[in-house]
């Protein structure tokens, strides 16, 4: 082939790749506009506490094995073992050095809703910002206010243990391009405010889909199988289907689902186990109307 032609082809391929790269970078999520956080009002700490339990922050960010009051000290350190390597949840106590005491609301909010760190770096979706992306700015502001009232900890959590290429944060831009979404996970026919509240809690702070929805080989959610269950992303056993088509809870009433979230007991008094124990403890702290809303949503989503 003529040298000029070969050169032309190579140049075209490089230009094409550059265009695709630029497109991916443009479309992947960026920081929220500053006005989004600036227009929130003074934090409602009671609501912040409610969001704290709905979001399950303590389950990853408190010290491993913490119980009772120790769950409120967000030292970091819990290890999340996945097929990509082991992640360690960071310290998010209000400590100015080791924690997030010096962060602005905008920095906190961008981390939670866009997976962007303080220095503009991508955060790993082991932190479920892919769900938290749906949180209302005022709820984020209230949560931020509440976190500031918790005890400070000087603990420095271990770094993530990831091998190449998973330790390259820049690659997450591509991952976010493919898998980040801020839109509702399911389209519901119901305009019932209770179901809508349930949708917000489950798809947003509750981040239930992160465990209860199966994933593809790149770790993205198979959203057409929303809440249909799959292998445990933490490694062992399976996570149940929680749609109306489920073998485990499909026949339960909404009331039975809400009772399970409150007490950990199934209708025949089997008891919650595995990773769900932590979740149920958080659900138990919510007002009854939130548990009822979650249950109503679970009865309204498509059966799988």
């Amino acid at each position: 082939m003529a040298r000029r032609a070969k050169f032309g082809i190579v140049a075209a391929v490089i230009a094409g790749a550059a265009l695709v790269g630029a497109y991916v970078f443009a479309v992947a999520p960026h920081r929220q506009p500053a006005t989004l956080w600036a227009q929130t009002t003074a934090p409602d700490l009671a609501n912040g506490k409610r969001i704290f339990f709905a979001g399950g922050c303590a389950s990853c960010h408190a010290a491993p094995g913490a119980s009772g009051d120790a769950r409120m000290v967000l030292t970091g350190g819990v290890a999340l073992k996945t097929q990509f390597g082991t992640f360690h949840a960071p310290n998010i106590s209000p400590d100015p050095k080791a924690g997030i005491g010096n962060w602005t609301l905008a920095e906190f909010g961008d981390a939670l809703t866009r997976g962007i760190g303080r220095n503009g770096e991508n955060l790993y979706p082991a932190f479920p910002y892919t769900s938290y992306a749906r949180m209302k700015p005022q709820d984020v502001a209230d949560l931020y206010g509440y976190l500031k009232t918790l005890p400070a900890s000087g603990n420095v959590a271990p770094a993530h243990e990831l091998s190449f290429p998973f330790n390259q944060r820049i690659a997450l831009t591509g991952w976010k391009f493919l898998f980040f979404s801020e839109t509702p996970r399911v389209t519901l026919a119901s305009a019932d405010p209770q179901v809508q509240r349930g949708q917000y809690l489950v798809e947003g702070p509750g981040h239930c889909g992160e465990c209860h929805t199966p994933r593809n080989a790149l770790g993205g959610l198979k959203t057409d199988q929303w809440l249909a269950g799959g292998p445990n992303p933490e490694g062992e056993g399976r996570i149940p289907n929680i749609t109306p088509g489920s073998d485990s809870i499909g026949k339960w009433s909404a009331e039975e689902i809400a009772t399970y979230l409150e007490t950990g007991f199934t209708p025949d008094f089997d008891s919650v186990g595995g990773s769900m124990v932590e979740v149920q403890k958080n659900m138990a702290e919510l007002p009854a109307e939130d548990r009822a809303a979650i249950a109503a949503y679970l009865k309204a989503i498509p059966a799988r």
């Binding site: 996570i239 008094f269 089997d270 008891s271």
Partner: protein
């Protein structure tokens, strides 16, 4: 001499008979397998908890005999349960036992003991009314999740 049943037919019938016998025998035998026994024990535990919860919720009237029987069942099951995990019973028969049980049998037995003690304590003071039963359900119920968190695995 001519036999009533041909030798071949006889051999076939014997073979079928042996298979049926083995099948029936293993079906009866399966009931003795530790995986099956221990699952049954947990069902009994759930049944006892259900009786107490019904009183606590007010669905059923307070009945001292029911409370006593339920707590006794819980104490007995908690005592016998850890013995149902011999080596070789890690898998099979739809067991939901986590491999962690055999990795850390000591902690597993400690948690079973905690349940046994809690049930025994409640039995000794015997909750006298709906509120008392409610408190018992709360205190024992937390122990279920504590063990299930580490040692039970949905498969």
């Amino acid at each position: 001499m001519r036999s009533m049943i041909g030798m071949r037919k006889l051999a076939t019938m014997a073979a079928i008979g042996l298979c049926l016998g083995a099948g029936l025998g293993s079906a009866a035998g399966a009931a003795d397998e530790p995986q099956v026994v221990r699952a049954g024990m947990m069902k009994k535990m759930g049944g006892a908890m259900g009786q107490l919860a019904a009183i606590a919720k007010g669905d059923k009237p307070y009945d001292a005999a029911v409370v006593k029987t339920s707590l006794t069942t819980m104490e007995e099951v908690a005592k016998a349960f850890p013995e149902q995990f011999p080596k070789g019973s890690e898998t099979g028969f739809n067991t939901e036992a986590s491999p962690k049980i055999w990795e850390d049998m000591a902690t597993f037995k400690t948690k079973a003991k905690a349940l046994e003690t809690a049930a025994a304590t409640q039995l000794a003071t015997l909750p006298a009314d709906q509120a008392g039963v409610g408190a018992a359900v709360k205190s024992i119920g937390g122990l279920c999740g504590d063990c299930h968190q580490s040692f039970r695995l949905k498969k």
